[in-house]
Amino acid sequence: MRVPSYGGPTTYEGQFPHMIEARGLTKRYGDKTAVDGLTFTVRPGIVTGFLGPNGAGKSTTMRMILGLDAPTSGTVTVDGKPYREHAKPLQAVGALLEARAVHTSRSAYNHLRALAATHGIANSRVDEVIDLVGLQEVARKRAGGFSLGMGQRLGIASALLADPSTLILDEPVNGLDPEGIRWIRDLLKSLAAEGRTVFVSSHLMSEMALTAEHLIVIGRGRLMADTSVADLIAGASTTVVTVRTPQAAELGRALAGPDVTVSSTAADLLEVTGVAAAQIGEVARDLGLVLHELTPQQASLEEAFMDMTRDEVEYHAAATPAPGTTAPTSRSAA
């Protein structure tokens, strides 16, 4: 019986079922550090997005969770123990990895049957997951002839095979058409709603904004944020307030301060940063000024992400050295 839990207090983390816990997880290839001291917890009941630019170390981290790559240092456990120590690993974690993990000459059906056999799973369950992902028509055909979207569906079928309590999916919407993307999104949310741990990587903040509730953001292998989607928007970028008033110059002078930026693109228009919309309204009332518009411009998730990873993107269009680190706003690192 899985009890859904929706983000309980941090102190109970160790007692939660179906959790991924990384502690100081590090992976080096020669002198290149792919993953650098990652500490995070992925909790059940919600979709957790794993976000970072290409080359940030997302796939490496996921492979370490699955025991495919050994960490240089640090540990990662699933449900309290390393993946390798699970007697029924496919039931602990179902995974869809970025690169296809299917023999191209084998049919989808036989691929799933071979995986199922390692855990003594009946062929009826194989038929079930084939139906679930909608591959009935092509299940007996060579997987090598599959389109990218069909390949992703087969990957998801194998991830769901043993009805796992944790799902790890690396860029699951890559190559899918809008209908397929919507299908994955709904699937992930319903799997999480059943109380499972769902950990999904993406380099697209826009996709994560629609799917995930919690985000773990990494750049150059380092943890940059471990936060809810809402908190990320609120915290990572300053909010701009658009003010439209006939007495723009007067209001602008009144708002001026050390941490406040006021800019104007039209005679009656101000773009204010550093002051909350409510405060601007109060100032205007005190001065008896008329406001025609007072709009906080919520920074989009994409902007928040760009802000956060600007210095940490592995491959810049223009070569800019990345000095220092951005302070992670980590919640579960404590």
């Binding site: 919600i46 990895l97 023999h103 056999a117 390692t118 699937l187 319903s190």
Partner: protein, 278 residues
């Protein structure tokens, strides 16, 4: 954060419980059996090995019989009917070796190995299952093929042939099957060690075919201490009926030496597969 939004977005699929058993060596063996049978290349390559083993034995038998009167005395002096009918072993070992490497390298090339090692994260059961399965299939198939090659070969040799009751006949036939089985397992281990089809096949053929040739240019005193211990020479001493090479190993020693090669390759494969990132 509340659950409300999730539940509203998509209805939860039914959670009928799926019966899942712990991973065991036996279950991994079943899985590998499914994998082996579900690739068309397995059938084709095994068929090639069978055809090579039987076809060459029969053709050599028929050709020898029809040219008997024109064979020169030296050739006649060295004539040995059992070995002639089993000459296909040289070609069959290539088919078996290629298939053994492919059985593993195919998984690395396609990325399947990540699915395999996700399902069996301790990894070693996969090596043992693949090696045991490949050994069993090769042995059964090649034992039957060697018998058929022998019987047909003797039939085509007609009056120059011999029978199963001849000295060393059964030993040679079984030894051919054992040799091909050990070469097959050796190839499986090479597949795990090198992870690439080209590298695995090149290494195997280098060891079986090229190294003995290179060894010929060594000083004679070195040759006697090295060449007999190469896998191919140790193997052929197992099934050679009339041994004309004085430095060759005895059949029993040959089997022992070849087993050492295979064991060393399997141990290396196990160590590397456990240690390396998949």
């Amino acid at each position: 954060m509340t659950a409300g939004s999730h539940v509203a977005v998509a209805p939860a699929p039914s959670r009928a419980t799926v019966a899942v058993s712990p991973v065991s060596q036996r279950r991994v063996l079943v899985s590998e059996w499914i994998k082996m049978r579900s690739l068309r290349s397995t059938g084709f390559t095994l068929l090639a090995a069978v055809v090579a083993m039987i076809g060459i034995g029969w053709i050599v038998g028929a050709a020898t019989n029809s040219h008997w009167s024109s064979m020169d005395p030296r050739e006649l002096a060295g004539f040995e009917p059992i070995g002639r009918s089993l000459a296909g072993v040289n070609l069959a070992q290539l088919a078996i070796g290629v298939l053994g490497v492919l059985f593993i390298s195919g998984e690395y090339a396609t990325g399947m190995i990540r699915a395999t090692f996700s399902a069996v994260p301790t990894r070693l059961p996969v090596i043992w299952a693949k090696a045991a399965l490949f050994a069993a299939v090769t042995f059964v198939l090649m034992l039957v093929s060697a018998f058929v090659a022998f019987l047909g070969g003797q039939h085509f040799l007609a009056s120059h042939g011999t029978t199963l009751s001849a000295p060393h006949a059964v030993r040679a036939i079984v030894a051919v099957a054992v040799y091909l089985t050990l070469i097959g397992v050796f190839a499986v281990a090479l597949g795990f060690i090198l992870r690439s089809t080209a590298g695995g096949i090149a290494t195997l053929f280098g060891l079986l075919l090229v190294l003995p040739g290179i060894g010929q240019v060594l000083p004679a005193s070195w040759q006697t201490h090295t060449l007999p211990y190469l896998p191919s020479n140790a193997g052929s001493s197992m099934f050679t009926v009339v041994q004309d090479n004085p430095s060759a190993l005895s059949p029993g020693t040959g089997l022992f030496v070849l087993c050492l090669w295979v064991a060393a390759a399997l141990v290396a494969a196990a160590v590397l597969v456990r240690r390396r990132d998949a």
